[in-house]
Symmetry: C2
Subunit: 363 residues, 2 copies
C-alpha cells in the first residue's frame, strides 16, 4: 500500500513513525519545508513529496494532519490530485465533512473524516511518538454517501496502529466532544476566574487556600495552553453553544432545587451523577474490569515510591493514580486504578507493608 | 486548661487525640453513649462527661463537633451551662453565628465560629487521626461583638495542633466555600449527568470513551458521597444560590463569546484563568515556592515506582501527583508538584534515569 501524510506535526509525525515501523512506504508533505526535511532526515516518513499533489496522486490512503481550519482545502486538493482515499485527524468533524461533500459531491465518498483521541504534552515533530495511538480511541465519521471500501481501508490501517475504531456520525462526534472536552475546559476556566475574583486582590489571595483537592481537580485543565481554544470554539461553535446552553439550563435547575431546599431532588441528582461517574469507561490498553484502591497515606517522602514499587514488583500496571486530598485538608488518600487481575496479590503486598487499602470494583 | 469536646465523630475524635497527645485534660460528650464510651476506652478523650452541661460547665474551651444543623442549639446550651469559651467545627458559618448572636446576645461574644479545612476518607471515630490538622487551614469567624480574649484562646489551641489560623467574616467564609467547594461539587455532578445523558443508553455508553483526562478530573468529585450534600445545600443555601447565579452569568458570557466567534475575548478569558490556576496556593505542610515537573511516561508497570523512588531517595516530598492523559489519549504525563529546594537534584536523578522533565515554578 502506498500511504502518505500531509502535515507532519505531532499527529502526522507520530503516524509516520508508526506506519514506517510497521513496514509501510510513506510519502510526506508539509507546507513548512524545513519541518518536512526534518521528518525525512529522522526517518519519520520514507520520502518527501515535492508538492501536495505529489503526496496525493497515486496514493492508496492520504492522511491529512493540518490544522482543522485548513483541513477542507487540503482534503479537496488531495481528492482532486487523484488520491484513492483521504482521511484527516482534525478534532472537529461536521464542518469539515460538510465542506468536502458540498465542494466535491462526486469524490467526497472517498473521504472519511477521522479524529484520533490521542495527544501529547509535547508539541510538533519533536513530540512525535510511534506508540501514540496504541490503545487510543480513533473516531471515524462516515456519512450516508461514504464509500464502504474507503472506510474499511482507513479502519484497517488505524487498527494496525493499535487504536480502537469507533464510527460516529460527524454531528454526534462534535456534540460529544463539546460536552466531554470543550465545555469542560470553558467551565473550568470560568470557575477558576470566579473564585479568583471573589478571593480578590493579592492581600486576600491566601483565602484561596480554602480551595482543596476537589477544586484543584475541577480547575486543573484551565492551566492548559489557552492558544488552541479560540480555533476550537470557532470550528465547533454550534455544538459548543448548544452544550453550554444545556449546561446552563441544568445548573439553573440545580440552583432552583437549592433555593427551594429540595433535599430529595438534590440527593437524587447527585446519586445519579455518582453512578454515572463511577461507570465512566477508562480509555487505554488495559482491559477492564478495574479496581479502585483508596489508601490513606501520610504526607511524607517515600510513601508513593513504596506503594508504586510494590505495584511494579508484582507487575500491576497502574492505569490511573491521584492523590486525593479527600475533603478539605492536606491529608492524602492515594487513589489507584488497577486491573482486577492481580489486585488481590497487590492488596496482600500493601497489607504486609502496613497500608490499609479499601477496594471498589469499577466498570 | 480544661478542654472539652461535644460530639466525638471524625473531627471531634481527631481533635481529642491531638489534644490528649499534647498533654491536655479533655472531657468528652456525645449523644451517642456507645460512641462516647468507645472514645474514652481508646483514650481519645480523658473522660466521659455525664451530660452536655457537664461537658461545658467549668471548661475553658468547649469544641462543638456535632452536625452543622445541630450546632446552634448545642453552642447555646454550652454557653448557658457556663463554658468560658465555645467554638465549633461546622462547615457553614453565617447561619450558626447569627443564630447564636440572636438567641444569646449577652454570652455570644464568648462564642467563636470555626471551620477546620481538614477531613478524611474515613468516617466516624474509626477515622480519628491526631495528625489531621497538621498543616491544615483552620478558619475562625469572629464578628464585631466577639470577645478578643475568646478568639485568642481558641487561636492558641488551634495553632498548637499545627494548623494555620485564618480569620474570615462568617458570610465571606460561606461565600468562599460555596465557590470553591459547594458549587464545584454541584457543577461536576451536573456536567457528568449531561455527558451521560448525551451518550445515551447502554449501547452508546462506550462513546464516553471519548472522555479523556480533563473530563475525568473535572467530574472526579461527583463520585463522592452524595449523602452529605442536601444538608450543606440547605445550610449554605443563600451563598450557594448566589455563587451559582454568578457562575451561570459567567457561563452565558462565555457562551455569547463562542456564538459571536470572539476569539480575542475567549483567549483573554482563558489566559486569565490559566494564570489564576497556576497561582492557586497549595495547602499543606510544605512551604512554597513549588515546582511543577511534567514527565512524559510510557504506560507500563514500574514507571511510577521508578520516578517516585527517585524522589524518596533524595528526600523530595511529592506534594501532589497525577497522571495527566494530556490531551485526548492514553499516553501519560506524570505531573509532580515538589518543593523548589531539592528540585535540581531531583531533575538530575530523573535525567540520569532517562526521564525528560519540564519544569515550571508555581506560587
Amino acid at each position: 500500500m502506498r500511504l502518505s501524510i500531509i502535515g507532519v506535526g505531532l499527529i502526522g509525525g507520530s503516524l509516520g513513525r508508526a506506519l514506517v515501523r510497521n513496514g509501510h512506504d510513506v510519502s510526506g508533505f508539509d507546507a513548512n519545508e524545513e519541518r518536512l526535511q526534518s521528518a525525512v532526515a529522522r526517518g519519520f516518513v520514507s520520502r518527501a513529496a515535492s508538492s501536495l499533489a505529489d503526496a496525493a496522486a497515486g496514493h492508496d490512503i492520504v492522511f491529512v494532519g493540518v490544522p482543522v481550519s485548513s483541513v477542507p482545502t487540503v482534503v479537496i486538493e488531495a481528492l482532486d490530485a487523484g488520491a484513492a482515499v483521504v482521511t484527516d485527524v482534525g478534532s472537529v468533524k461536521a464542518s469539515v465533512v460538510e465542506a468536502v461533500e458540498r465542494a466535491r459531491p462526486e469524490t467526497a465518498p472517498r473521504f472519511v473524516g477521522g479524529h484520533p483521541m490521542a495527544g501529547s504534552e509535547q508539541e510538533g515533530l519533536d513530540g512525535a511518538d510511534p506508540d501514540l495511538f496504541e490503545g487510543a480511541t480513533w473516531v471515524l465519521t462516515p456519512t450516508a454517501t461514504t464509500d464502504p471500501t474507503a472506510f474499511t481501508a482507513v479502519q484497517g490501517v488505524v487498527r494496525s496502529l493499535g487504536a480502537e475504531v469507533v464510527a460516529v456520525h460527524p454531528t454526534d462526534h462534535d456534540a460529544l466532544v463539546a460536552t466531554v472536552s470543550h465545555v469542560p475546559h470553558l467551565a473550568a476556566g470560568t470557575l477558576m476566574l470566579l473564585a479568583s475574583e471573589q478571593a480578590g486582590s493579592a492581600d486576600r489571595g491566601p483565602l484561596l487556600r480554602l480551595a482543596a483537592g476537589g477544586f484543584r481537580d475541577m480547575t486543573r485543565i484551565a492551566a492548559g495552553h489557552p492558544g488552541i481554544w479560540p480555533d476550537i470554539c470557532v470550528e465547533n461553535r454550534d455544538a459548543i453553544v448548544r452544550a453550554l446552553d444545556e449546561y446552563v439550563r441544568a445548573l439553573v435547575e440545580i440552583r432552583d432545587r437549592v433555593a427551594g431546599e429540595d433535599r430529595d431532588g438534590l440527593l437524587a441528582s447527585l446519586e445519579r451523577a455518582r453512578d454515572a461517574r463511577t461507570n465512566l469507561p477508562i480509555a487505554g490498553l488495559e482491559e477492564g474490569p478495574f479496581a479502585e484502591l483508596r489508601i490513606p497515606v501520610p504526607d511524607r517522602p517515600g510513601v508513593l515510591a513504596e506503594v508504586t514499587t510494590l505495584a511494579g514488583q508484582i507487575g500491576v500496571n497502574i492505569v490511573d493514580l491521584e492523590i486525593a486530598h479527600s475533603s478539605e485538608g492536606p491529608e492524602g488518600v492515594l487513589v489507584l486504578i488497577v486491573p482486577m487481575r492481580g489486585v488481590e496479590q497487590f492488596e496482600g503486598a500493601l497489607d504486609a507493608a502496613g497500608y490499609r487499602a479499601s477496594r471498589r470494583t469499577i466498570a
